[in-house]
Point group: C2
Chain length 326, copies 2
């Protein structure tokens, strides 16, 4: 077993092993942490374990992942029968339960009692405020949101935000810890419903649904504009950095020049969408038509594999000149 | 000089050689069309030509573009002194002027008179409706919008939409022609202010600006969530295809499961943003801070180069199994 930089033992707990939780298991195990997995439903944990074995087998076969690496990742996972066993001596708990305050509060109350006082208690929630989850807990200072993009073992961004009583030092520790896992922590200044990611996504998807619903374009047209247009730049730069490179004068000139256009478009955007069954039906038919010869599992595997390739490309060709001090 | 599949000569005209027009010159010239470039301001055309030579030199040096390819692209460009000369015998005109109806209407009236009757008259506009631009023209049936993403020689998506009098056959010809140029034409069913791309972008950017303005996150946090989160998937799949791969039951299950979350987030989104000088100032400082060791020209060159690499990656690893008939 390895050790944290300060010599502490490196054990973490994953509490809740659904779609998000099981991906977190891979993140921690891959980084060399003893990863204790627990779920209130034992069948869920068993299914997470089967998923992980199948994923590793596939990675070994299709991506040439080395046997030693696969074995190491598996050996770092400990399936636990009780929450107590899972959190004993851990430095970090990653909770990934349902988005229901009444379910998350008692879990955090238990975690606060059972874990070492210095452990960070992190929730994968994006729809609940840590101020509410940790209300009344003596350890509210060590409770944080660490909301990943699904799935975190593929996509690096993790949104980090505390509740009103979270210690700023704990937030900084959380950011450093997530960085050591190979993730990209993004620190928010305060909780807002859905955090950044779901809000920006919902704003765009609402408009996309509106365009389909009003008959301006097919769902496939929307997807094509994204994957062969907007998305090619956004995989490299966020929207502000794109604006900054779009004129010689940078983002100030960008907004000076395009503000009238931006405001005209904004004034015309959908502000209130009713999602009808007909539109969802149209989406399903269009998407299934476009991808008709590839199963959904294959689509997902391709997506995850290609995200890995794009990340590799970005690491191999950084924009910044190498630091002379490195 | 090459020929169209039906044996017609292959000459096209680029009318207006600003930032978008000059990129179109490269698209056509690269594809082997005799590309006649004209601008009402001769200095603009001269500057476009200097830009193109510098770009080709850079591509030759940094991307190892072959001398023969560079020479061929240059030799396919003809700088014209008059509009008449530019459009003589062409099969396609790509107009890229200012987004002002009163300037575009007279240009289209001239084009309708000077061009061969079968030539397609395309505008790069996203903010004007072709119904209005081509109003009263006898050739309104052959007028289309072909709105590229900036710059079209790098990003393949092109939005295609007609006016009320545009012939559906012309739209189909336009789509096929753009495909032959190596672009990804996306056909819309009707004009809507800003088309798909600017609307989806504006919806997301408005929310991003709101989050910065209200103090929830820094501009850099917004950009990081995009480039290390949302954007990694969107470079591969549009938002509907992503939803489709996010649950085992596809997009129907996706909206069944996440609809309450989606609606809660939508209800909280910014609907009315006032862009203050303070926010633009904050954006500029943040973006310049993040990229402080790299000039804007270098950022843009890196972005364009990396988009090319991602496109190459997608071509080399298609999701669909190879067609047995191919």
């Amino acid at each position: 077993m390895g050790a944290e930089p300060n010599g502490q033992p490196r054990a973490v707990a994953v509490v809740g092993t659904g779609e998000i939780g099981r991906s977190w298991i891979r993140v921690f195990a891959r980084a060399g942490y003893e990863t204790r997995a627990w779920d209130p439903e034992p069948e869920q944990l068993a299914s997470a374990w089967e998923w992980m074995k199948a994923e590793l087998k596939r990675a070994r076969k299709e991506q040439g992942l080395r046997k030693r690496v696969v074995r190491s990742e598996r050996e770092h996972v400990v399936r636990c029968a009780t929450l107590q066993e899972a959190v004993d001596g851990v430095i970090w708990v990653q909770e990934s339960g349902p988005e229901v305050l009444e379910q998350r509060r008692p879990i955090f109350a238990q975690l606060d009692k059972l874990t070492p006082p210095k452990a960070v208690l992190a929730s994968s929630t994006s729809m609940l405020d840590m101020t509410a989850i940790a209300k009344g807990l003596s350890g509210a200072n060590r409770c944080v949101i660490a909301h990943p993009v699904n799935p975190p073992h593929i996509i690096p961004a993790v949104e980090v935000v505390g509740g009103h009583r979270t210690d700023p030092l704990v937030l900084r520790r959380a950011v450093r810890f997530l960085e050591r896992l190979g993730l990209t922590p993004v620190l928010l200044r305060g909780y807002v419903t859905g955090l950044l990611l779901h809000r920006m996504e919902a704003a765009l998807v609402r408009e996309a649904l509106h365009l389909v619903k009003e008959g301006f374009a097919s769902p496939e047209a929307v997807d094509a504009v994204m994957r062969d247009g907007l998305g090619l730049r956004w995989a490299l730069m966020g929207p502000f950095a794109v604006g900054n490179t779009s004129t010689d004068g940078g983002i100030r000139e960008f907004f000076r020049r395009y503000r009238p256009v931006f405001e005209r478009v904004c004034a015309d955007l959908c502000g209130d969408l009713t999602l009808t069954p007909e539109v969802v039906d149209q989406l399903a038919k269009s998407v299934d038509g476009t991808w008709r010869r590839v199963s959904r599992a294959q689509q997902r595997a391709w997506r995850d594999d290609m995200v890995g390739r794009i990340r590799h490309l970005k690491e191999a060709h950084p924009v910044k000149p190498p630091d002379p001090d490195d």
